[in-house]
Amino acid sequence: MTADTKISLSIENVEKYYGGYRALSDIDISVVEGEFLVLVGPSGCGKSTLMRCIAGLEKIDAGTLRIGGRDVTSAIPSERGVAMVFQSYALYPHMTVADNIGFPLRIAKRPKAEIKARVAEVGRLLKIEGLLSRRPRELSGGQRQRVAIGRALVHQPQIYLFDEPLSNLDAALRVEMRVELARLHNATGTTMVYVTHDQVEAMTMANRIVVMNGGVIEQIGAPLELFNNPANRFVAGFIGQPTTNFVNGRVVSADAGAITVELPGGKPFPVAVTERLKGPTPTLEVGIRPQFFSLAQDGAADLTITVDVVEQLGDETLIYGELDGDQSITVQVAGQHHVARGARLDLAVDHDKVMLFDDRGLNLCRRPS
């Protein structure tokens, strides 16, 4: 972050309670102007609540919200300079597409000619100029999505808020809209905050991702930063697909820069660490992404699994198996491999990519990128 970058949205120590339930705690995020920030996390993690707090649809119980440097903590939604695209689109069924898009301008009592021109412009941008006189029920899901985005665009806000906007679309349309949203972001250059539970959307669209869980932020960072250097076991498990394998490993020795671990049925190997272990620890949770396995050459196996299921994807093969002691392992290897069910398979591990988590789930191997 350089000195001349402007902070578009600043969320400082925000807390939110529903009765005695703490929905958000200690939320601290600074969003740079033009940034595409994705809030991601499982259902109920507080990401939608946080977005609604930013929009002003929910009051926060502590902390400060600033937009463009202005304190908007207690401002009403329309004074915050935000536009929001709802998961359900929230289009007005009794209005035409043009009226839906022009709704914010109508509320603001703009001249009719201006509304018409702005709606037409947005329609062109979103390639829905032919649908302007239709009603929402005459549109497909993707078209409704565009109208909802159009209504946000016409606001010309400082920040766009997207609340799971693609979740109601089918897979193919979702990919298409994903690309379009990215294009839109490039074209407008406006700050966008985007909520999703889909880590693929997060990875592909975000400049930075905020991973949330149980009302707290687990980690904020660029997509690859989160992939390569997750702060903790939760982020490691949430980001990346297929999901990271977590296996209990025996600590053979622990030095200042490295810990040697041994996986069930494998040979001990050292892993470089950036954090020291506190106190004697007999076992550690070992995180290995499925991509960082390879089929072992004779005698070089770090561990051995019993193959359960094999999925052939053409360019790669997914192998699901079990370690001794019933711990399951997913392996992703390039190319096509034919392995029989029940066969014993020797695997090598890229030791530099192995992650170790202490009993609090903290990643001991955060490597500078």
């Binding site: 009403i76 329309s78 929001m84 914010p104 509320i107």
Partner: protein
Amino acid sequence: MIRGRMIAGFLTPAILVYGFFFLLPTLFTFYYSLFDWSGFGEEKTFVGLQNYVRLWNDYVFWLSLWNTVMILLVGGVFIMGLAFLYTILINSGIWGKKFFRFIFFLPNIVSVVALSAMWAYIYNPRIGLLNTAFASVGLEGLSKTLWTSPDNIFWAMLAALIWVFTGFFLILIMAGVDKIPADMYEAADLAGASLWQKFRLITVPMTWDVLTISFVIWVINAIKMFEFPFAFGLLQVPQQLYTLGIYLYVMGFGKREPIYQLGYATAIGVVMLVLAFVMIVVIRRLMRTDSLEF
């Protein structure tokens, strides 16, 4: 062919029942309205449209019609307006939504006689709730108001009637408003819409179907309005409270008076039927719209 016959076969009982219990009596009503008939025995004198000519020249009929129309229009505006207002207030997130909804609906499950007795107490000039309340806050002038004097009694009754009916339409309209998704209003909040704009641009159009039904139900209720103003008169209904329904009853069934003019009364009934029919057609025409999907 077989399909057609099957449909006809299944529909026949319903059509017969409907025809026998609804259509036929309606036609008979019109038929009887052409007679001078006391209702005692079978002896009737055919008088053609004479009963309708009499109605045209009948001061009390026009008075009853005027009162009915006042109930329909003034009552309707207040009932629908208040039902909407209360809906918005109750839905604004105040505590005890179900409690208030129950309170407002309560008059609908209490007998009208009990209600009118309660209102008689409220309006009592000396010991009544209203005047006592006004006196206690120092509004001496207002506390001397004779709410049920001949010049006020219709409006006093109408106020009570509005109170009775608002709860029913509150339930209907609230059900309509409740099915509007919350994000419709949130999107409007983000655009900076005022309460009035949200009401006009979202609530009203999105409850249009419920409103149409409510208006139709109200029109039917108002045109055949009987029980409440009748009970409001307790021992005797003063003419100031006559509705078409009450006048029909007075002429056809002679409460304490030996007025037994069933032919004439059915002519009033026919007028009510035509009035209701015309009003409903007009409402449906005026309020016709595409069905909404959300």
